[in-house]
Amino acid sequence: MRRLSLGLFLLAFAVCGRSGTEVTEPSYQSSAPGLGKVFVVNIDLPHNPLLMYEIYRPLIDYLNRNVPGASFRLETSPNYEEFTRKLHEGQFDFALANGHQTLNALHLNYHVIAKMADDSQLVGVILVRHDSGIQQVADLKGKKVAYPRPYCMMGTIMPQYYLHTHGLDIKRDIENLYVGSHQSSIMNVYLGNVAAAGVRRPSWELFKRKHPDQARELVAQWETEPLSNVGVVARDDVPPQVAALVAQLLNTLHTTEEGRTILARIPLSRFELADDAHYRELESFLHKVYRAVRPLEEPCP
């Protein structure tokens, strides 16, 4: 029976014999072990976060390799509300924001260190059909004009400001239709539903590439003044040497093959140095527009 008992013991041991290693719970600490300062870079462009990540992550990797003693982490914002919230809370150290948000940042302990070039692309155009016979702004009197959305800067406000400055009372002389998107605005004028359509130039260029036959029947009859492109802001407490180095790296990005590859993904020809004064001028201009057309509340993609 002793042998039998021994066998039973061995069986129990074999079955229950999984290593009884001591269970340790994970421990935490408030700071990252072995990590230097991590600068958060937020991208204020309301696109799919993963798409933004894919476009701008190489830029962040570039900064990480070229700014010694610091590391940069990319954050994207799913919408303007979220970006605005983070901006007010000062959650990020650097941000790439459109002109409107850049102006907001200037009032929230951020300052401009650089900006995207290619301002000339940031204009609104007013399209008419070739066969419409519309030559003068005054020809639009009594007709319908399409825009993307009411508060779209380049597709709506700037074209309306243009019409305003060229003699039209946009509230009385024309009927304003907000059709939801730039593409919709173009199709409305193409199909003859409206006499003219406001749209930003990049959207018009894209349409021309994708639908050259249809685009040949349209003409960009008028073009608005350009706005300032996306600005790069840094929080005021970011070490000046880091901010300066980031600005310099962006300013020279187009001079390297790697930099040009990064810029091509955005797409952009280059970054350039800028300061708060540049956007203060923009602010003055926008105030003028505001007074003339409508209040500035919502930026437009």
Binding site: R3, L4, G7, L8, L10, L11, A12, A14, V15, C16, R18, S19, G20, T21, V23, T24, E25, P26, S27, Y28, Q29, S30, S31, A32, P33, L35, V38, V40, P49, L50, M52, Y53, E54, R57, R73, L74, E75, T76, S77, P78, E82, D213, Q214
Partner: protein, 957 residues
């Protein structure tokens, strides 16, 4: 038969021991088997449960990863926390967290951890590792896994899940205790079953053991109790009884065999010998051969110690012993002195543990019965299996081989006598078995062949290999017959001896049969007949020489036997008689003489006198003609002097008799013959005249033939030209296809655009009947243009059958228009100056093709030289009665070395060129248009100048 099984006492100790061991073995065996099986099952189940738990943790972490992917790029902590909260209530979840690559907590099932960094070693270890799914902790209480959050190649963080295993452990404990309980119950049941079986088996086995014990003591009548037939023990008892029956039967059979076998069998006890050998080994003796050599007395002593247990009847008969005298039959009683050597060998064999010993030895029987008669025996000593250790039973079998030995001796002597006869024969003797093997080859074969007898025995094919190549066929033919038992055969052939010399052999063979008429092969005798062959050859040569002498005689020669019959003659004799040799041999010689009596008299004179001279005997030819012969005869005698016949030689004197008459006739006809010769000379003159006229006719015919050949050659030459023109045209066809492709490219592109317009218009609902008609109209115009292109090319390459006037400028334009698209494609500028009104006579298309060849040549030169601004200038001018067409390019010119050859046929410097383009151009210009063409390097390229006669001044007829 008494069944003892039930009545035998059964040992309590044995019974108890068997029962205990059976129970122990059965119970422990059952326990081990069941325990092993359930342990395996439980272990496998446990591993599966843990693996499921781990997999579940990974599934949860994967879900967390996927849900977090949209929030991580934006560092949206609130969104991430919502994701974590969604799995917060998962059973056994210890914690869930989303981490940055650096270990910062972005979301956690304990929100207080958000923003903190992981600091424990295992966490830091996995953070440092590559972004791969991994198990951080896996033990009895918890499984902790992490899955990387990745987007494309960027590592964006970790999803980490820890699940507790309390339920898993509880489930396992329940499983183990159920298994243990099952094991205990199964073991107890097996113990009870073993006890019952042991009780029943023990009783039956003890009964069988008792029976076996009785049998061992010699009781062959005892049998086991097989009363309970259904049980295994009962069947075992039956088998045991059956085995006993077989044993009794076997013993009886053995006894019968032992007694009746015609071999002397001895059963002996070597136990004392075994003890002695054991002592020797114990004392360190290892070389028993040496020991017994040194101690012969011990061998004798050990022979006395062997106890003869039993002998059979054949032994008594062999050794002449009565039954009553069996006790006197000992080894020493039958041993001869030399028998002790055999016994010593037996001792050594047993000492070395070799238990089978056979040897021929000599023994002799008891003296008082057979008076010491010596017998030869064959002895075999065998130690039966099971008696190797004790040697208590040793079987010795003895066979009387005295007569066999006597026969063997007689046979040996007989063989020796035969071998002496065979070995010392002069001829090469051998015996070849039915299978071709050589059973015997006499040594004398070496004298004949140079090869030893063993070489033939080892390789019978050597017999054929020594045969001379010229005689191989005959030898093989002979050997084919010898494969069957046919009567004596002989053949003469040559062999090549080992030293390379050749000798003749007379080969005689005959079948050999055994006593039972069995065919045993062939006995062969080869005799060297080289000398005989040499003499035969010499004799044949002498006979041939004699025959030649006889035949070469211009006179008839005849040999006549003493009885007057012809025995031999030469061909001249056949000619005289008109009869063949076969007809004449054996016939009476006098039958052919016109005077047989005179012939017989002359013959008798020769026989009596020994000779006869100049006897004239006319001989009759079968045709009836008579030849006068002058005979001389001598007697022929043999070596011993006997008369063998008469040799008669005869000379034809017929001619001699006619000589004077012929001379006279010659003189008489001389004058007449002179006249005949004169007449024949006149005929020759007439013949010469005729021959002269014939030669004139042949010359005329030859001239006519020559003109026809010239005409034929000219025609053939023209055919070749046409062929070359055709080849050139085919080469141009390739160029044409290339040009058509270029001509069509633009309209095809336009057609594509028209089709796209129609499609887009339809898609955009803009397609109206008017716009569709307009597009179709445009498409038709393009297709018409393409069709016209094909027509132009077809007309250009259409062969012309008749020469005609043509406008030179128009032909040049045609050529340029064909090349137009290609030249534009290559960005080659064409500058032309082609005034109209210059007419030539010839072939419009051929001329255009010639121009095309030159322009194509210019294009290729420009391409080859990669001239950036290619240019071809074509100008037509008038110079007197000729039109001058100049084609100048800037393609770098032609090497001065090859310039003179460029118009040669098949001359080309191009890798893919045929070398007929410029040649054909020259042929077209010179032969078909009576013009000239020259080439020269001018400026940056080559200039071709064509001169054509204008039609009004010089029209070819």
């Amino acid at each position: 038969m008494k069944a003892l099984g039930a009545s035998l006492p059964f040992s309590v100790a044995a019974h108890g021991s068997f029962k205990r061991q059976f129970m122990l073995t059965f119970s422990v065996g059952s326990f081990v088997l069941i325990a092993t099986f359930v342990t395996y099952l439980v272990t496998a189940e446990r591993a599966q449960i843990y693996a499921d738990s781990t997999e579940h943790a990974f599934d949860l972490a994967d879900a967390l990863k996927v849900s977090s992917l949209q929030w991580v790029p934006g560092n949206d902590l609130a969104g991430l926390q919502e994701v974590v909260n969604a799995i917060h209530d998962h059973p056994e979840l210890r914690y869930a967290m989303v981490l940055s690559p650096q270990g910062r907590v972005l979301a956690h099932s304990d929100p207080a951890r958000i923003g903190q960094f992981l600091a424990d070693e295992s966490s830091l270890a996995f953070l440092k590792g590559p972004p791969q799914s991994r198990v951080i902790t896996d033990d009895v209480s918890r499984v902790d896994v992490a899955v990387p959050i990745q987007f494309k190649t960027w590592h964006m963080g970790w999803a980490r899940i820890a699940l507790g295993r309390e339920q898993v452990v509880a489930k396992l404990h329940k499983l183990v205790w159920s298994t243990v309980l099952f094991l205990v119950v199964a073991t107890l049941l097996s113990l009870l079953a073993a006890r019952g079986l042991a009780n029943r088996l023990g009783a039956g086995i003890s009964s069988l053991v008792g029976v076996a014990d009785q049998v061992r003591r010699g009781n062959r009548a005892v049998r086991a109790d097989a009363g309970r037939e259904s049980e295994e023990i009962a069947r075992l008892g039956e088998s045991f009884n059956l085995m006993l029956d077989n044993l009794v039967e076997s013993e009886a059979r053995y006894r019968t065999l032992f007694e009746e076998v015609p071999i002397s069998l001895w059963e002996e006890d070597f136990s004392a010998v075994r003890d002695y050998l054991k002592d020797l080994r114990a004392s360190g003796i290892t070389d028993f051969q040496q020991y017994f050599d040194d101690h012969p007395d011990e061998v004798v002593r050990l022979a006395d110690k062997v106890v003869v247990l039993d002998v059979n009847r054949q032994t008594l008969k062999l050794f002449g012993v009565e039954d009553a005298e069996k006790p006197h039959l000992t080894l020493r009683a039958v041993f001869l002195p030399e028998s002790l050597d055999t016994f010593k060998a037996e001792l050594i064999s047993l000492a070395e543990h070799q238990y089978h010993f056979g040897r021929e030895i000599g023994l002799h029987t008891l003296r008082h019965t057979l008076r010491g008669k010596r017998i030869d025996i064959l002895l075999n000593l065998i130690v039966p299996e099971g008696h190797e250790e004790t040697l208590s039973r040793v079987l010795v079998a003895i066979v009387d081989i005295t007569e066999l030995k006597t026969f063997e001796e007689a046979l040996r002597q007989s063989e020796e006598r035969y071998r002496i006869i065979a070995d010392f024969t002069y001829d090469c003797e051998y015996w070849q078995g039915p299978d071709g093997c050589l059973l015997y080859v006499s040594p004398s074969c070496e004298m004949q062949t140079g090869y030893r007898a063993e070489e033939f025995i080892d390789d019978p094919a050597q017999l054929a290999r020594v045969v001379h190549p010229d005689d191989v066929a005959a030898f093989e033919h002979h050997m084919q017959h010898t494969r069957e038992p046919v009567g004596p055969l002989d053949i003469d052939f040559r062999i090549i001896r080992r030293d390379g010399s050749t000798i003749w052999l007379n080969h005689v063979c005959r079948p050999v049969y055994g006593h039972d008429n069995e065919y045993l092969g062939r006995r062969v005798s080869n005799r060297d007949i080289t000398e005989r062959k040499r003499l035969e050859t010499r004799l044949e040569e002498t006979a041939a020489y004699a025959r030649e002498l006889i035949e070469s005689s211009p006179d008839p020669l005849v040999i006549v036997s003493p009885d007057g019959r012809i025995t031999d003659l030469n061909k001249r004799s056949e000619a005289v008689t008109g009869l063949s040799r076969e007809q004449l041999i054996g016939s009476e010689y006098s039958d052919y003489c016109t005077d047989p009596d005179k012939a017989r008299q002359a013959f008798m004179q020769v026989l009596t006198a020994g000779y006869a001279n100049d006897v004239t005997l006319p001989v009759r030819h079968v045709s009836g003609n008579v030849t006068e012969l002058l005979f001389n005869g001598v007697v022929l005698k043999g070596v011993t002097g006997e008369v063998q016949g008469v040799l008669a030689s005869a000379r034809d004197v017929t001619k001699l008799r006619h000589l004077e008459r012929e001379l006279r006739e010659l003189n008489e006809s001389l004058e007449r013959r002179i006249e005949e010769e004169v007449a024949r000379s006149h005929e020759k003159d007439l013949m010469l005249i005729e021959q002269s006229q014939q030669a004139a006719r042949e010359l005329q015919a030859l001239n006519e033939s020559l003109e026809q050949r010239v005409a034929f050659e000219v025609a053939e030459s023209r055919g070749k030209d046409h062929m070359l023109i055709q080849q050139s045209r085919l080469a141009a066809m390739g160029e044409m296809v290339h040009n058509i492709a270029h001509q069509w490219r633009q309209p095809l592109h336009a057609l594509s655009i028209i089709l796209s317009n129609i499609r887009d218009g339809y898609a955009l609902h803009e397609l109206t009947q008017e716009s569709l008609d307009a597009e179709i109209q445009r498409a038709r115009a393009l297709l018409k243009q393409m069709s016209a292109t094909v027509d132009d090319f077809r007309d250009f390459f259409r062969p012309e059958r008749e020469a005609a006037e043509f406008e030179i400028a128009e032909a040049v334009q045609d050529a340029l228009s064909v090349m137009d698209a290609t030249l534009k494609d290559k960005r080659i500028e064409v500058v032309e100056s082609l005034p109209s009104g210059l007419m030539a006579y010839g072939y419009h298309n051929q001329f255009a093709q010639a121009v095309l060849n030159l322009v194509a040549n210019a294009k290729e030169a420009i391409q080859e030289q990669e001239v950036p601004h290619g240019r071809v200038e074509v100008s037509l001018t008038r110079s007197g009665d000729s039109a001058i067409l100049t084609i100048q390019d800037n393609g770098g010119g032609i090497s001065e070395e090859i310039l003179p050859k460029i118009f040669d046929p098949y001359f080309t410097t191009k890798e893919q060129g045929s070398g007929i383009g410029l040649y054909m151009t020259k042929i077209i210009i010179q032969r078909n248009h009576r013009g000239t063409i020259e080439a020269a390097n001018v400026g940056p390229g080559t200039r071709f100048v064509i001169s054509l006669p204008l039609v009004k001044e010089d029209r070819p007829s």
